[in-house]
C-alpha cells in the first residue's frame, strides 16, 4: 500500500534564529518551536497525540528526550521517539509521522528540534570513543566534508567558485527573508573567494553559521487536514539512503563513492509519480556548500559529477531554472537541521512567500543529510521528501 498523499503538513514554525541566544535551553527551543507550529496549524496542544524529536546530541548522554518534550508541552501522546540521523532527521521524522498515523498509532504528530549550542548545564569536553578521528585532529564536521569536497574536485573538476555559487544563492535569498540569520548582510562570489580558510578547501563562507534555535512541523491525516485553516500540503513521496562516503568498510565495485545516496532520490520520485521536471522549488540540505552539490546529484537534477557547472550563472537562484533554498538555507537562514527547508517549501506551496515567492509553485523536493562525523566509519544518511499542494 502506498502512503502517497495520505498525510499532510498543516503547520510549520521556526523560533528566532541567532548565533548565540542564551535565553533558552535545547528543551526551551524545542517547546517554543512546537508552540509556533501548532498555532500555525490553528490547532491546540490537545489535538496533538504524537511527538518526534531530533536527537539533541550536544546534550550529552541523556535519555527519554522526546517523551519529556511531550510531557512539558502538556500533550497526552501515544507515539514518541527521539531519532538520530543528524541533519537527515527532520525529514525522517515527517516520514515516520506519516507511517504512525497510517498505522493508527496516533492522528496528529508534531516533529521538532531544539538546539542550544552552548548549553550551560553540559560541561565542555570531547566525547569519548572517537578513537580513529579525534586523535588526528579531525574534530567536528568541517574536516570530513572538506575531504569529501577535495575528492569531488579531484574526480570531477569541481571548483571553489562553484561551491561559492551555492553560498551566494543562499545569501541572496536570505536577504529577502527578514527572519534569516544573515539578513541584511549581502555577499558576492568575490567575498566568498576572499573569506578565510577554515578547513581547506573550505573557506568561511562554505560553512554554516552556529545557530541557536528551534522549530517544528505538524503532520496529520489528509482527512483531518481538509478542515484546517491552511491549504493542506500533501506528503507525496520520500526515500532514504545511508552510507559511509569515501570510507565504506565494504566497498562495492559497481557503486561509486558518489552513488551512495541516489536511491533516496529515485525512491521519492517513484513514490510520488513525478519527475524532476515537475519540481518547482527545492530545499537542498546545505550544511557546507559541497553537501548542496551532492544533493543535486542524489536528486537526479544532474548527473553525478556535474553539479559544479550546474549551479553556475544563477541557475539555483530565484528567477533561475531551479530555485533552491529560497529562505536562505542552512548557510544563510541558519542551521535549523533542515526544518527551515521544510517550513520554506510549505510556505512556497501555500503561496505565502511574498517577495521570494516562486510563481505557481505546486511541487517541492526537499532533502536532509547528516549523521555521524567523528565516530568510525563516518556515516551519512540522506532523506528525501516530495510535497505538493
Amino acid at each position: 500500500m502506498s502512503l502517497k498523499d495520505t498525510c499532510a503538513i498543516v503547520g510549520v514554525g521556526l523560533t528566532k534564529l541567532a548565533k548565540k541566544n542564551p535565553e533558552r535551553s535545547t528543551m526551551g527551543f524545542a517547546l517554543e518551536g512546537c508552540k509556533i507550529a501548532i498555532e500555525d496549524a490553528r490547532l491546540t496542544k490537545d489535538d496533538v497525540d504524537g511527538l518526534l524529536l531530533v536527537h539533541p546530541s550536544q546534550q550529552g548522554e541523556r535519555h527519554g528526550f522526546a517523551g519529556r518534550v511531550a510531557d512539558l508541552l502538556g500533550i497526552s501522546s501515544t507515539f514518541t521517539a527521539t531519532v538520530d540521523c543528524g541533519g537527515a532527521t527532520p525529514i525522517v521524522l515527517v516520514q515516520m509521522a506519516t507511517m504512525a498515523v497510517n498505522a493508527g498509532m496516533c492522528h496528529t504528530v508534531v516533529c521538532c528540534y531544539g538546539w542550544q549550542n552552548n548549553p550551560i548545564d553540559v560541561p565542555l569536553g570531547l566525547p569519548p570513543g572517537f578513537e580513529f578521528t579525534l586523535t588526528y585532529g579531525e574534530v567536528g564536521a568541517n574536516p570530513f566534508l572538506a575531504q569529501v569536497a577535495r575528492r569531488h574536485m579531484h574526480d570531477f573538476g569541481t571548483t571553489s567558485r562553484q561551491l561559492g555559487a551555492v553560498a551566494v544563492a543562499c545569501r541572496k535569498h536570505a536577504n529577502m527573508n527578514p527572519n534569516a540569520q544573515m539578513y541584511g548582510r549581502p555577499m558576492t562570489l568575490e567575498d566568498h573567494q576572499n573569506s578565510r580558510l577554515i578547513a581547506e578547501p573550505f573557506r568561511l563562507l562554505d560553512c554554516p553559521p552556529w545557530t541557536d534555535g528551534g522549530g517544528a512541523v505538524v503532520v496529520t491525516s489528509a482527512e483531518r487536514a481538509k478542515d484546517l485553516k491552511h491549504r493542506p500540503i500533501y506528503i507525496s513521496g520520500w526515500g532514504q539512503a545511508h552510507g559511509a562516503p569515501l570510507l565504506r568498510p565494504w566497498r562495492r565495485p559497481e557503486v561509486s563513492d558518489w552513488d551512495v545516496w541516489k536511491k533516496a532520490g529515485e525512491m521519492a520520485f517513484r513514490m510520488a509519480g513525478v519527475t524532476q521536471k515537475d519540481i518547482d522549488v527545492c530545499g537542498l540540505y546545505d550544511a557546507f556548500t559541497i553537501v548542496f552539490l551532492l544533493q543535486l546529484e542524489a536528486g537526479g537534477f544532474c548527473k553525478v559529477g556535474e553539479s559544479g557547472p550546474f549551479v553556475e550563472d544563477g541557475r539555483v537562484e530565484l528567477g533561475g531554472e531551479l530555485p533552491c533554498n529560497t529562505a536562505g538555507g542552512l548557510l544563510s537562514e541558519g542551521h535549523t537541521f533542515g526544518f527551515g527547508h521544510i517550513a520554506e517549501a510549505v510556505r512556497q506551496l501555500r503561496g505565502d512567500c511574498g517577495e521570494r515567492q516562486v510563481k505557481d509553485a505546486e511541487t517541492a523536493f526537499i532533502t536532509g543529510f547528516g549523521g555521524v562525523v567523528n565516530e568510525y566509519p563516518p556515516t551519512f544518511s540522506l532523506s528525501t521528501l516530495i510535497i505538493r499542494r
Binding site: L134, R150, R151, I198, A199, P249
Partner: protein
C-alpha cells in the same frame, strides 16, 4: 595561532579495537583479514562486512598506501594542534581507507594518489604511538 593549548586526545580503545591499538604500540598496523572470503577490513569489527563471517586473523599491513583525500585545518574547533595541519584519508595497499596525518612534507605538496609509507609517531608529550604516513621513497 592559539596561545591556549589543550593536550591532544588519546584514543580510547573499545573491546573490538583493543588489539589494533596494542599493535600500534608495537609499531604494527594490524588489519583483520577474513578467513572465509579474504577481505581486509578496517575499522576493527567483529564480522566481515562482505560475507558476515566472524572468523578473521589479524595481519600486518604492508604499510604502502596512497592519498585518497585530505584537508588542511586552519581554524581548529579544539585547540590541541598547531595550525595549519592536515588530516588525510589514505587508501592502504590492502584496500581499506583510514584517517591519518601526512608527515614529512609540506601541506602544499600533498596530492591525490601520492605514494606513502607507514610510520609511527608519538602523540605530543604523551607515551602513545599513532600510525601516520610519510611520502614514500622512490620505488
Amino acid at each position: 595561532m592559539a596561545e591556549f593549548k589543550l593536550p591532544q586526545p588519546l584514543p580510547m580503545p573499545s573491546e573490538d579495537s583493543k588489539p589494533y591499538w596494542e599493535g600500534c604500540q608495537r609499531q604494527e598496523l594490524l588489519l583483520q583479514r577474513c578467513d572465509d572470503c579474504g577481505y581486509y577490513r578496517l575499522p576493527p569489527s567483529v564480522l566481515c562486512p562482505k560475507c558476515m563471517s566472524m572468523n578473521a586473523q589479524l595481519t600486518k599491513a604492508s604499510g604502502k598506501a596512497k592519498v585518497f583525500s585530505w584537508e588542511v585545518t586552519h581554524q581548529a574547533f579544539y585547540p590541541a594542534w598547531d595550525t595549519p595541519f592536515n588530516v588525510a584519508i589514505v587508501e592502504l595497499e590492502e584496500g581499506p581507507r583510514m584517517h591519518t596525518n601526512i608527515v614529512g612534507c609540506k601541506n602544499e605538496d600533498i596530492y591525490t594518489d601520492m605514494p606513502l609509507e607507514l610510520m609511527f609517531e608519538k602523540v605530543e608529550d604523551q607515551d602513545w604511538l599513532l600510525p601516520k604516513f610519510k611520502p614514500a621513497q622512490q620505488r
